[in-house]
Symmetry: C2
Amino acid sequence: MTRRIVVAGAQMGPVQRADGRGATLDRLVALLEAAARGGAKLVVFPELAFTTFFPRWPLGRQDAELLDSFEPAMPNPRVQALFDRARELGVGFYVGYAELTPEGRRFNSAVTVGPDGQVLFKYRKVHLPGSDHVKPGQRYQQLEKMHFEYGDLGFPVARGPEAWGRPVLGMLVCNDRRWPEAWRCLGLQGVELVLLGYNSAAYDPNGGEGESAETRTFHSTLAAQANAYMNATYAVAVAKAGVEDGAGLIGGSCIVDPNGRVMAQAATLGDEVILAELDFEACRQGKEKMFNFAAHRRPEMYRRIVEQVGAVAPE
Amino acid sequence: MTRRIVVAGAQMGPVQRADGRGATLDRLVALLEAAARGGAKLVVFPELAFTTFFPRWPLGRQDAELLDSFEPAMPNPRVQALFDRARELGVGFYVGYAELTPEGRRFNSAVTVGPDGQVLFKYRKVHLPGSDHVKPGQRYQQLEKMHFEYGDLGFPVARGPEAWGRPVLGMLVCNDRRWPEAWRCLGLQGVELVLLGYNSAAYDPNGGEGESAETRTFHSTLAAQANAYMNATYAVAVAKAGVEDGAGLIGGSCIVDPNGRVMAQAATLGDEVILAELDFEACRQGKEKMFNFAAHRRPEMYRRIVEQVGAVAPE
């Protein structure tokens, strides 16, 4: 069994609030096809890929626009064309979406789908940024803590199929990538490829101060690089980029190797496919030597990580 | 109270096995003086700064050369000149050393010393790399697990003095810097400046395969950058560099800001001072927003980090 596979990051340009779901799905299918033409067997789409980044709008819980942004099942008729085309091409994918459960619970989720069109596993975003209430007087909000529950599935992994070399796959969503705890929970399960999509602000859309888009892209790339290195895993991190209804999102989608090196990175803020060939055997050097966890970790010294939430500085 | 301070990294070139302790101490004092001339109020020296990196030699527990490499107290007469000169200059420092306790316990330790010449706090390296036994047939060993006990002080922090702006200081030693758990334990105590020294192999001195010196330096810098960013802290990471008795060590000593940007980096593999002015107020942006731990961490999801040592991959 070869353990080599070409993977793609399918960065998306902006999805405007008024864009139809069908037009957006057509873009996803077009990106999938472009990735497949490039030899990709696995394609990574962004977080909340089927819609605009709707948590920026102060929509009520039963608002029709909000409800229309959620998926009651995955797949479902509105996204079936993507699943069908991927199965035809023998390509798997990761895609982020807003999940509405039969019980009415809401999560910022992602699934990885195998080349047979079946969902391999699901992840629900643990690190929700933003606010749990509308901030008055602000045109643009960040309401993930209001629209979603915290993910309750932990950090699951799954083996990919034979055709991919049976890599141990893990998923993250957006802000999770900045939290080394999340990566380590995957690393402790032997992860060899982390798939993640994101929507990250390029600037404060309300005009406040903040880091430049260049710095924010640097942060995003740095987090993927270092956490991939420290867990001896590949990572594919994929943006929805560009300006959505006046709010800018960084690009910088990248594929990173287990040394933390960027193998490919998007150059635009639009729909763009990046490709790289991975060799999962290259994870072994790190996992067996520098990051041989069994030999070198000291969990009895790490208790603060689970016994304390916030930072407590000395007097 | 201003919260600005100039800090220095005092990279050392190699210390040969035959070098006298006095000559090495003279180099430390010269580096201290150069840093002070550059305006530094706090100088960071490498791990095991007073000697060669002796864990590469298969020395027995009672071997005179080994015992001579340990410090029975800190300070002690053989290092007093460094403490005295620093106090005269009003400069504090971090220095790594081999600690021998009155009970005969041995640790790979570091202290941070205030501008008054008093030890502010001590740290004992938690993440010991290498082997706990001599590997036969190898000229060069890595025997930290044999020569030292695992650090038993956790990851302590201390406030620096008024003259430094009372930053929350944390220490790490060498390999610790690759372990995000260590940084997070400091971050959870509000750390604003992480001091660390290292001796990291530039290649396998026994001629085996391995990463290039360039890749190893990249790894070292990447770990400092990303962990500083993810904990919204400054970091000063300082090497003993160059070729010690045929075994090469990377350089790359660097000062990193809370955005993960390299502010200064050593260009040589020799004795070299790097300088940067830090403003601890710059840690607030990260600590209050992106890395507001109280608002965003989910410790109930991190239990694997403390309940499991090694990686366990799915079937």
